[in-house]
Symmetry: C2
Subunit: 387 residues, 2 copies
């Protein structure tokens, strides 16, 4: 069966790999819509190749210029463009691979129009997990995770009753500073921070991997996606990144998903679910060549961001949205050389302390808290002098 | 829902553990029938506790004596006793935990009467996999594996289309001689051979674990249970016995089942399938306490039994039945001090060389080949002098 799909964020890391998956399974997919941010040249190539019916770019000006160049394609822009593509009933599935809070509105638009979602955007569930999951349930929309950890858990649960689950085991490589001491982490350069030992990803998520905030955001995401209590979600550091996550059932049996560290596998799984195809030649996992898998507890003293994320998740309300926004601002400040790596956590901690959370937040509450957090971060950053 | 079950081999290692599982889930099971071999005292205790409607023992004489002691229970004996219990339509499930070729006839009786089977007897599928699986399919009978490896694979496949499978990965601890050289294995005592590093099992299977014949029999069993080609079944040595086996799907994703090395988990899974319950306190797997998992290729030079089993499986016909019978006789000769451990393989190899296989064997062909192999083994053993 031909699936008609749209890819929001088609020129980013996940979007490009998703199109490689589509290339490898040409009989299974047709591209309905594409949306990109800054990389207009690549978007133009994609339009030529995949002939979508609708595209969207970030800026109105760029959209108007593109209209002169490209015929027979509906061209949109901005948040409204993303939302319109995601909500089109022509989609069998929309891949939300835009970053940050931008993922939230197209996700809700897809849900409202009963379009299934492959979700590669963490912030949507971290900030608004209660709203997104409730609406998805009510509209009978599937949210298929693209993150390797959540894809692993989805594969391990495999439609079993969640009452059979004892706990989720979310694995993480531990990032580039797993074996460093705190003072070394405090002095880490941007370049060192971006040298992830296992995964090649965008800059923001690579910094989050170095602080373990990424694992923390994943714990919150897993809580919402699978409906599991925080006390039953364990983070395990696994430097080889072969076991992508696991589920322990009540009878003591643990089901784990393994594979080479390649995003092609979880992306393809989300796009082809419930089927599996050979698809891309990503190479087979050889356990005997891998030879050894290690597991250890995360060090919360060295990586306090993970602790903060658990705390924000457990407290609930608008705390996770604030955690996410504070972190995002802090990470960009780090990437721009304004603060040290360890100051990311300090900024987040301070902001969470000051924040007045709203219980059972609605969408406005979440957006408001997100804005508040970004303002707080800016003020905090203005006070800091880079050493 | 209360499941009515019978346990054939209730006083053996698997049978006793199955009753522990039943004890832990008293609302889920009622014992309909029990069958035991030599341990009559334990059987009597079990009858008192579980109040089955029907029991069977090995010998007629014992059965007649029991009839004087036990009222209101139907008492049978011998192969016919096993077969009658297994075939009773009152069973929702029968656990076949008798050893050797004795498992075959009750298995077929259960299938004929549309009773689902929890199969803990390897020889049934190794010797007569073609017949058993075809009849089970025709009668829509489920065969739920109890072996930890096959239970793991069953959990990993989880009803997915087998066309989505690339390969099965059958793990094994490597046994007590994994790190020994061949000459040490040749001189291994019975005691050393029975000191399995991970699993506490009966003597016969523990010897098979030391020669890796056990893995070979499991490969043949997996071939029949899951309908996978021998070339797509890989044996991986994994000394910690935490990953109990795995399945690689065509998209490169590997699903593995893990757990502490306890037979309670696969036994309970087979009895409660498709549900999972807390059941026995077997302890939870802690990946961080386990800390490290290793994987290596099996050494076929040191453990030629595994190679012989693959060859017999691929050749098919009556070769697997002969492999199994030759091995069984050889193992008992070793346990009785008549031959060295490495001579088990020599006997099996010789017998397979001489055997004239029958293609698409019927039940008579299989029984005949089994008998032939045991005669061959006896003659071979008569010629050998223990050094």
């Amino acid at each position: 069966m031909l699936k008609q799909i749209s890819i929001l964020g088609s020129t980013g890391s996940i979007g490009k790999q998703a199109l490689e998956v589509v290339d490898s399974l040409p009989d299974h997919f047709r591209i309905f819509g594409l949306a990109a941010g800054a990389n207009i040249e690549l978007l133009k190539e994609q339009v030529k190749k995949y002939k979508p019916e609708i595209i969207s770019v970030k800026d109105e000006q760029v959209a108007l210029e593109l209209k002169k160049e490209i015929a027979n394609v509906k061209i949109l822009w901005g948040r409204e463009g993303l939302t319109e593509i995601a909500g089109c009933g022509e989609n069998n599935l929309v891949l939300i691979a835009v970053s940050g809070i931008n993922g939230l509105f197209p996700t809700l638009a897809a849900i409202n129009n009963k379009v299934d979602i492959a979700l590669a955007n963490k912030e949507t569930l971290v900030s608004a997990g209660n709203i997104v999951m409730e609406r998805a349930r009510n509209n009978n929309v599937s949210i298929l995770p693209v993150d390797s950890e959540h894809s692993a858990i989805h594969q391990c649960i495999n439609n079993k009753d969640i009452n059979q689950i004892k706990k989720l085991i979310v694995t993480g490589s531990g990032g580039p500073f797993r074996e460093k001491i705190y003072s070394e982490i405090a002095n880490a350069t941007v370049k060192e921070t971006l040298s992830h030992p296992r995964w090649s990803m965008g800059d923001k998520i690579t910094v989050d991997s170095a602080t373990l905030m990424n694992k923390g955001l994943e714990v919150i995401e897993a809580h919402w996606l699978f409906g599991i209590d925080y006390k039953d979600i364990e983070v395990v550091i696994h430097p080889q990144s072969i076991v992508h996550s696991a589920v322990e059932f009540k009878d003591g049996s643990v089901i784990a998903q393994l594979g080479i560290p390649s995003m092609h596998i979880p992306i393809q799984y989300a796009l082809t679910y419930p089927d599996r195809y050979e698809g891309l030649e990503t190479g087979s996992l050889s356990l005997t060549e891998t030879a050894r898998l290690d597991f250890e507890k995360p060090d919360l003293e060295k990586f306090p961001c993970l602790k903060l994320a658990y705390e924000a998740g457990i407290k609930g309300g608008t705390y996770p949205a604030v955690l996410n926004a504070l972190n995002e601002e802090a990470v960009y400040a780090f990437l721009n050389g304004k603060i040290r790596l360890t100051e990311i956590c300090k900024l987040v901690e301070k902001g969470l302390e000051v924040h007045t959370s709203i219980k059972n937040p609605n969408l406005d509450d979440i957006i408001h808290s997100d804005n508040w957090a970004r303002e707080f971060a800016k003020e905090f950053l203005n006070k800091i002098t880079v050493s």
